[in-house]
Subunit: 332 residues, 2 copies
C-alpha cells in the first residue's frame, strides 16, 4: 500500500510506495561488491597516503608527533577561503557575499583501502575528535555561521578519491534549508514545550520496529518518513544542539555505534556508496531548547529525478520498517 | 574568485566556485554523445511505441482519432492512486495520509528515438496542450493540492525508458519545499509590492548577460544563483501563478522557445541528461499577486554529495554568465 508519511521534525512529506516495493535484499544484489581488502593498502599516486603528505596544505594531524592517525588538510581547490575579506554587497538586485569560509579535508586513516566499517571504534573516535577540534577552531572565526561536517563514500555519492576522507565546510551564512528546519523545530517546541527530536527518539525506542542499533548514549533508526531506502539518523539520547558540546564518553560511544551501523550497511548492502553528515546547530544559535544534533547516513541506492527536484518530496520504494529489520538481522 | 550568491526569490544561497572552474566546453567533452538518429525509430519491446499500446492504462490521446501524436497512460507502478480513499490519520506520533493522487505518463511522440530538441515546435505544442488538459482534469479532483509536471531525460536524470515521455503527479498535500517558496515570495511582495519573479526577469532582460533565449511571451536565462551548471528558468513575461492559466498564443510561443533552448543544450552539451519541471502554484492558491509559474531545466552534468544533503546549498563550479554565453553561441 502506498502512503504519505510526514517527518514530524522537518514537516517534509515522503511517498512510501511499497507497491513498487523492492525488498531490502534487492539493493544488495544491485551493488557491485567492493572488496577493500583486495585493494592496495598504499597508492603511490594518492595525495592522502603516508609519504605523499603535502605539508604546506596541512592544518593539523593527530597525534601531533610520531605516526599520524588522522590529518586535516586545506582543500587544494577550495570552494571557500578563510583569507578572503568578508564583504556583503548588492550585485544589481541580487545579494552577494565574498567567498569567505573554510573547506578542509579530514584524512581518516593512513591505510588507502580501509573504510569506516573496517576501522576500529578507537580509530573512528580519533576521527570524531579531529572533527571536534576543527569545529571548535573554525567556530572561533566570528565570520562563520554554520559548519557542515560530511563524508562522501563511493563514486555514486560524489567521492572522487578512494582514500578514506571526510570534509568540513565553514559557511558565512546559515543556509535557507537549515533556517527552515530551525523554524519548524521552534514552532513544535512552542506548541508542545518539548524538543521534537527527543519525542521522535522516545517513540522509536518504544516501538522498536525501526531501530538499527542502540548504545548507552545514542539511538540509530531508519526514519518513519525516510526519503530513500536505509536513510538512518543517529541521535544522542542527551538533548543538545551541537556536536561540539559532546562529552568525551559520548564521543567514544558514538564511535562504537557508528562502526556498528556502518558495518551493518557494509555487509548487508555490500559496501554501498553513501553520504554521512553531522547535522549541528548554527554556531551562533544560543537556545538549547528545540534543536538536537544528529548524524545522518544516506546510502545512495536510489536516484533523484524531476519529481524530487520539482517538489522537494521523495518517493521511497521501500518500507523503513523492512530496511531496519534487514539491517538488524545482518550478521556482523 | 569564489562568491556566495543568493536567489532573491527562494533566498537560497549557492557557492559559485569559479576557482575550481570548469569551462562550459568541459561539460560537453565529458558527455558520451548520443546520436538519436542512429537508434531505431521503433522498438518492438517498448510499451510506448505504436502497436504496443496498453489500452486499459490509457487515459487520453491527442488527437483522439486517427494516428496519435501524444498519449497519457496510467503509470503501471503508480506511486499514488486516484481510487484510494483519502484518509488523514495519526500513526502514533506521526502524521499519515493514504496514498491518494495521480501518477501518469505522457508519451510525447510516436517515434521511439526522438527527443524534445529534435521535435518541431508544433509537436511540442501538442505535448504542452496534453499537460494542460490533464492538469485541468486532475485539478477538478478536490482532494488534489499540487500538480508536478516533469520530465526525466537520460539515465543520469532518472529515466528508465528511452521513448520520449514526461510524467504528471497529483499530490494530496502541498510539499513543504513549495510552502517555503510561497512564504518567501509573499514576504517579498509584502515588502516591495511587486512579484519577485517579475523583478528578476526585468533585471535579466536589462543585463542580458545570462539570457539564453527570448521570445514574444517568454524569457529563458541561467539563474544568477544557479545551483548547478546550465540551470535554466523560462519565465512567462505575463505575470501569472499557474501554467493552467496560459493563453493559446503563449502555449505556441512556449513550444518555440522550449525547442530552441533544448536544441542549444542538445548541440552544445551533446544531448545531456536533464530534468525539466513546470513549477506552477498549488491548485487551491487563490492569490495571483506574488507567485509566478515557470519552467526549470536542470542538465545533470554534476553530482550532489554530502555537502548539498547537509546544507541544502550547492557548490556550482561554473559561472552562470559563461554558461549562458556558451549556449547563446551554439549554432543551431
Amino acid at each position: 500500500m502506498t502512503e504519505l508519511r510526514q517527518n514530524m521534525a522537518t514537516k517534509e512529506w515522503v511517498v512510501i510506495a511499497s507497491e513498487r516495493a523492492k525488498r531490502p535484499d534487492d539493493y544488495a544484489d544491485a551493488q557491485e561488491p567492493v572488496i577493500p581488502e583486495s585493494e592496495p593498502t598504499h597508492d603511490p599516486d594518492c595525495p592522502f597516503c603516508p609519504g605523499n603528505e603535502e605539508l604546506d596544505l596541512e592544518i593539523v594531524r593527530m597525534p601531533s608527533t610520531g605516526l599520524w592517525q588522522t590529518r586535516v588538510v586545506r582543500n587544494k581547490y577550495p570552494a571557500l577561503s578563510e583569507s578572503t575579506q568578508l564583504t556583503r554587497t548588492f550585485d544589481g538586485v541580487h545579494r552577494l557575499l565574498s567567498g569567505v569560509g573554510y573547506h578542509e579535508i579530514l584524512v581518516e586513516h593512513p591505510l588507502h583501502n580501509t573504510t569506516l566499517a573496517l576501522m576500529t571504534p578507537a580509530e573512528i573516535e580519533v576521527m570524531l575528535e579531529t572533527f571536534y577540534e576543527r569545529g571548535w577552531s573554525i567556530r572561533s572565526d566570528s565570520r562563520i555561521e554554520q559548519i557542515i561536517y560530511f563524508k562522501n563514500h563511493g563514486e555514486q555519492a560524489g567521492a572522487s578519491l578512494r582514500h578514506p576522507h571526510s570534509q568540513i565546510i565553514g559557511l558565512p551564512v546559515v543556509p535557507t534549508d537549515i533556517r527552515h528546519r530551525i523554524e519548524e523545530a521552534r514552532r513544535y517546541f512552542d506548541d508542545n514545550g518539548e524538543c521534537v527530536f527527543c519525542i521522535m527518539m522516545r517513540d522509536e525506542l518504544e516501538k522498536g520496529e525501526r531501530l538499527v542499533a542502540v548504545s548507552e548514549h545514542f539511538v540509530a533508526f531508519t526514519l518513519y518518513a525516510s526519503p530513500s531506502p536505509f536513510h538512518i539518523w543517529i541521535l544522542p539520547r542527551q538533548h543538545s544542539v551541537s556536536f561540539l558540546y559532546s562529552q568525551s564518553e559520548e564521543m567514544a560511544d558514538l564511535a562504537r555505534i557508528l562502526q556498528e551501523v556502518m558495518q551493518r550497511l557494509f555487509v548487508g548492502l555490500r559496501d554501498p556508496a553513501y553520504n554521512l553528515i553531522i547535522r549541528s546547530a548554527p554556531v551562533k544559535e544560543i537556545s538549547n531548547d528545540y534543536l538536537h544534533w544528529y548524524v545522518t547516513i544516506v546510502p545512495r541506492v536510489s536516484r533523484t529525478a524531476g519529481f524530487e527536484l520539482g517538489s522537494g518530496m521523495f518517493i521511497n520504494p521501500s518500507l523503513p520498517e523492512d530496511c531496519a529489520e534487514f539491517l538488524r538481522k545482518v550478521k556482523i
